[in-house]
């Protein structure tokens, strides 16, 4: 899949920006130590998820970091895989997470979850749920903060028995892809999928 081209990152905030405390009277303390909006690596999301992200979150690069996924490395069945999204929030200047989307490109439907949050969602954004995974795949999550920055991550889950599709030849397909690689033959993205093309 193509990497999302890098675009201009948000300009770093001044160090002495006032910090808003939720529900407080507005008294401000100057904070000397504020996490830098450090220049980060970007993360490429599957092609078919980009239109969802664009509609929900607008354009822009997705930075790597801030959101983490808690997923098992191996799911014995894809029927019910526990997942937790954790995102750093609120940031010292009061930015909060306003949206989290999750994509499962190996499933018939790529959009797996979509959460809309507000400042009252709390200081520890941690959302736990269970998802269905059709087969072994990378699970992607992107969080959009109220300053419109996007932060994302991915996690590879090995599913021994797919849920959405009776993935009866998944083993054979994995072996085929490994063999091709071993023999120095490139299999283009659009020919790697099994029954379902990656990211329909």
């Amino acid at each position: 899949m193509n990497a999302v081209p890098s675009q201009t990152l948000m300009a770093p905030r001044p160090l002495n920006r006032r910090m808003f405390l939720l529900g407080a009277g507005g008294l401000v303390a100057t904070v000397t130590l504020v996490p830098q909006f450090a220049k980060s690596d970007t993360i490429a999301f599957p092609n078919n998820s980009l239109s969802y992200i664009k509609t929900a979150m607008g354009e822009g690069a997705i930075n790597q970091g801030r959101i983490t996924l808690d997923l098992p490395v191996l799911a014995e069945t894809g029927n019910s895989v526990p997942i937790t999204f954790n995102a750093e929030a609120p940031m010292p200047d009061g930015t909060f997470v306003k949206r989290i989307m999750m994509f499962v490109p190996g499933n018939p439907e790529i959009l797996g979850a979509d959460y809309i949050l507000n400042p009252l969602s709390g200081s520890n954004v941690s959302i736990g749920t269970r998802i269905r995974l059709a087969r072994t795949q990378n699970v992607y999550a992107v969080a959009q903060y109220s300053d419109n920055s996007r932060w994302g991550t991915q996690f590879n889950v090995l599913v021994t028995y797919g849920a959405c599709v009776e993935d009866i030849f998944a083993v054979e397909n994995e072996e085929y892809l490994k063999r091709q690689e071993m023999r120095g033959l490139t299999v283009p993205d659009e020919l790697r999928g099994y029954v379902v093309q990656e990211g329909k």
Partner: protein, 742 residues
């Protein structure tokens, strides 16, 4: 249902050898031998209420350990092999182990606690092994912990073996500590054994279900009896399946109940309205309900029924094959594989060959015809039958009747053959509809004719192969275009993108041969005939096709087919082991006198690599005898070698049938075959000698055993026929090819 009464089935009749007298032998199973599984396998095998340690196992006060089995017993032996996996870790005395089916209702209420309850994809052992080992290990450690607490020692000081816990001079049984163990939570679950540590898995213990099947007390779907139950015979529209458009034109016009109303035992006749999917839903049809099944079936057979046939009445097999052959040259094929430039390599090659191969629809032909029993009350629905997917059956009943899934209880029986057929649940949906109409518990059984007529069948396929052979006799390019009736295109169309169903061309797309330039594409050409997974699925027809062509390629290059395959899989250690084992054990040769021949077939399915060498003889007039089949395979590891070997034998029998005689044809839109006179299956006198050799690479490989030995058989036999007669068979079944030679 007790089985202490001596019923007709409990007799074993034997005839005296001399003197012409007849001797009746009575076989009464001893208490110890009997009932490791209840004859109703969904019921507790012991009368007692034991202590549940975890969802997978219960320990009774007398030490009996009941293991719950989440897959369905259809002869593949899971009622033995899965408890063996738990027992390996649990370290219970195997003689105290009994088994019952896991409960699908509990499964859906408890967040899929049994992980996977469908049976298919040769997956029972390989997909559940890890968590079954975990369940057994967890229970064992909790028992040890309970004893440790009681005895004031640490868990590490407690040994567990054969249902006994010991530490120094202290001794206790699993039964004594079961209740305490059930309360314990471990802070860390134990690691499971690796194969090198197995002491029990890998041994050929006797099957737990054999006694029940020998003495006839095993309950299959057709054996279910409920109080107040009535019987239904059904006939769905004689032209089955289709798509929504044609199905709307295919209807039940009328039926004349008055003509049969007065017949003995007849209760009612009901219209079955179409519901749900055109092949797995309820088809338009009619059900006759009576107080015995024979009366229902006879009345149904005599009742005048008028059908609107619809446009599919114009469809026949010749037309379907012609359509597929035509598609071989039509544009718009979906590309599945593209290594290098196969067309170019073939065009430039020293020698070019091509061939078109064809395979028909084939019926599963389960020995037990489709059936299901449904009992509806105000607060629950009970469903009985041989389900390969009990949670699926549960949800179609809930859906059909509009009730909460939590109130539907499935009871899986033994299955008289599954082969994939019993995972579709079309008969379940139909039985639920009949039960609702009849207002009583109903056992619905299809006649054999209905069973063949309604399908669902293994898809048909036509494939064209082209290859370029280099000056050195080795292949430079392989080009494959396959035209398939796609199961997925009907059942899950959203999973087929731009006409590509990679599952349908399994074996082509993923062929293992190290040929530099390869190209595979496909066309989907579906018909109205309902299709579903057949034993080994796509490779059941695809391997005959590609493996026969690989032999043609070998012969075009002047190569020995066995060595050819060894050379083309040089970089794959498991294939090398399997092929070399086969070469040695079969005494491989292409140098037999005319009229006899050896042929080879190679395939992989569900992670298991299988190669077979068939020895055949063909009379000058073309009568074929398959004398011997030697099979070498690598499934990684074995839980029960004798059960695995039985799976090889049964797969080969089915593969042999596919090769030589199985065929479903269509005329006037309807399936022609109705019974085993027109759809013959392999009989005992046609059985070849079968030798099985396990050539296991072990390690991380855990391949399936239920299906993988089926695909290579047809190719091995076809390739042997070539060496025996010089004739190349290009279509299944081989009965269509004249094998005579001079």
């Amino acid at each position: 249902m007790t089985h202490l009464d001596i019923t007709r089935r409990n007799f074993i009749v034997s005839t005296a050898a001399a003197g012409g007298g007849m001797m009746l032998g009575f076989y009464l199973p001893s208490a110890a031998q009997a009932a490791n599984i209840a004859n109703n396998p969904w019921e507790r095998p012991t009368a007692k209420d034991g202590q549940e340690i975890n969802a997978w196992l219960v320990i009774d006060p007398d030490g009996t350990v009941t293991v719950r089995v989440a897959q369905s017993e259809m002869g593949e032996g899971i009622f033995t092999s899965l408890p063996m996996i738990v027992a390996e870790e649990l370290q219970a005395d195997w003689k105290a182990i009994k088994a019952e089916y896991a409960d699908a209702n509990r499964h859906i209420k408890n967040n899929n606690v049994y992980q996977r309850m469908s049976t298919g994809g040769s997956g029972a052992v390989r997909l559940s092994r890890v968590y079954l080992q975990q369940a057994g290990a967890s229970a064992r450690e909790r028992l040890k912990e309970a004893a440790a607490k009681d005895w004031g020692v640490t868990r590490a000081d407690v040994a567990a073996k054969d249902s006994v816990l010991t530490s120094g001079t202290k001794r206790g049984t699993y039964a004594e500590f079961a209740t305490k163990a059930a309360q314990i939570t471990l802070d860390k679950e134990p690691a499971i054994k690796i194969p090198d540590q197995y002491t029990f898995m890998g041994t050929s213990v006797a099957r737990l279900d054999t006694p029940l099947k020998v003495n006839g007390t095993a309950t299959f779907g057709i054996d279910v009896r409920l109080p107040g139950m009535v019987y239904a015979a059904v006939m769905a529209h004689p032209i089955p399946g289709g798509d929504a458009g044609t199905r709307a034109q295919r209807t039940l016009k009328s039926f004349d109940f008055n003509a049969i109303k007065a017949r003995p035992g007849v209760i009612g006749a009901y219209e079955l309205k179409p519901q749900g999917d055109t092949t797995s839903g309820v088809q338009p049809g009619v059900a006759v309900v009576a107080d015995t099944w024979y009366r229902a079936k006879t009345a149904l057979g005599l009742m005048p029924i008028q059908w609107e046939m619809g446009p599919d009445v114009a469809i026949n097999s010749n037309g379907l094959f012609d359509r597929m052959r035509k598609a071989l040259t039509e544009p718009g094929a979906a590309v599945s594989r593209k290594d290098g430039d196969a067309e170019g390599a073939i065009a430039k090659a020293a020698k070019k060959i091509e061939g078109v191969y064809e395979s028909p629809y084939v019926a599963h032909a389960c020995m037990e015809p489709m059936n299901c029993t449904v009992a509806i009350t105000n607060d629950r629905v009970d469903v009985y039958g041989g389900f390969q997917n009990p949670p699926g059956a549960l949800s179609v009943v809930a859906d059909n009747l509009g009730v909460q899934p939590n109130n539907v209880y499935t009871h899986t029986t033994f299955l008289g053959g599954g082969f994939g057929r019993r995972s579709r649940n079309d008969e379940v949906r139909q039985a639920a509809a009949v039960a609702k109409l009849a207002g009583k518990p109903v056992k619905m059984v299809w006649t054999r004719e209905e069973d063949f007529r309604q399908g669902t069948h293994r898809p048909m396929a036509v494939t064209k192969f082209q290859a370029g052979i280099g000056a050195d006799g080795m292949p430079t390019g392989l080009w494959i275009r396959s035209v398939q009736h796609s199961i997925t295109a009907h059942s899950r169309p959203e999973a087929v993108v731009n006409g590509l169903d990679n599952g349908a061309i399994e074996g082509f797309r993923t062929n293992v041969y190290n040929i530099p330039n390869q190209y595979v594409d496909m066309h989907i050409r579906n018909s109205h005939i309902p299709v579903h997974f057949y034993r080994s699925v796509a490779v059941s027809q695809n391997i005959f096709q590609i493996e026969s062509f690989i032999d043609e390629m070998a012969q075009a290059g002047g190569k020995d087919p066995m060595q050819y395959r060894i050379d083309l899989t040089k970089d794959l250690p498991d294939y090398q082991l399997v092929l070399k084992t086969l070469k040695e054990k079969s005494g491989w040769t292409t140098n037999l006198p005319k009229g006899t021949g050896m042929g080879i077939g190679l395939s992989v399915a569900f992670g298991t690599v299988v190669a077979q060498a068939a020895t055949v003889s063909v009379t000058r007039r073309g009568a074929l005898t398959v004398e011997k089949i030697v099979c070498a395979l690598d499934c990684g590891h074995l839980v029960n070698p004798s059960i695995a070997e039985a799976q090889v034998q049964s797969s080969i029998v089915m593969g042999l049938g596919d090769a030589t005689i199985h065929e479903i044809t269509v005329d006037k839109g309807q399936v022609v075959q109705g019974n085993f006179d027109t759809f013959p299956i392999i009989r005992m006198n046609q059985m070849p000698i079968i030798e099985t050799h396990f050539a296991l690479t072990g390690g991380d490989k855990w391949g399936g055993m239920g299906e993988p030995a089926l695909p290579p058989t047809a190719a091995a036999v076809a390739n042997a026929i070539f060496y025996a007669t010089g004739k190349r068979v290009r279509s299944m079944p081989f009965s269509h090819t004249d094998l005579s030679w001079s």
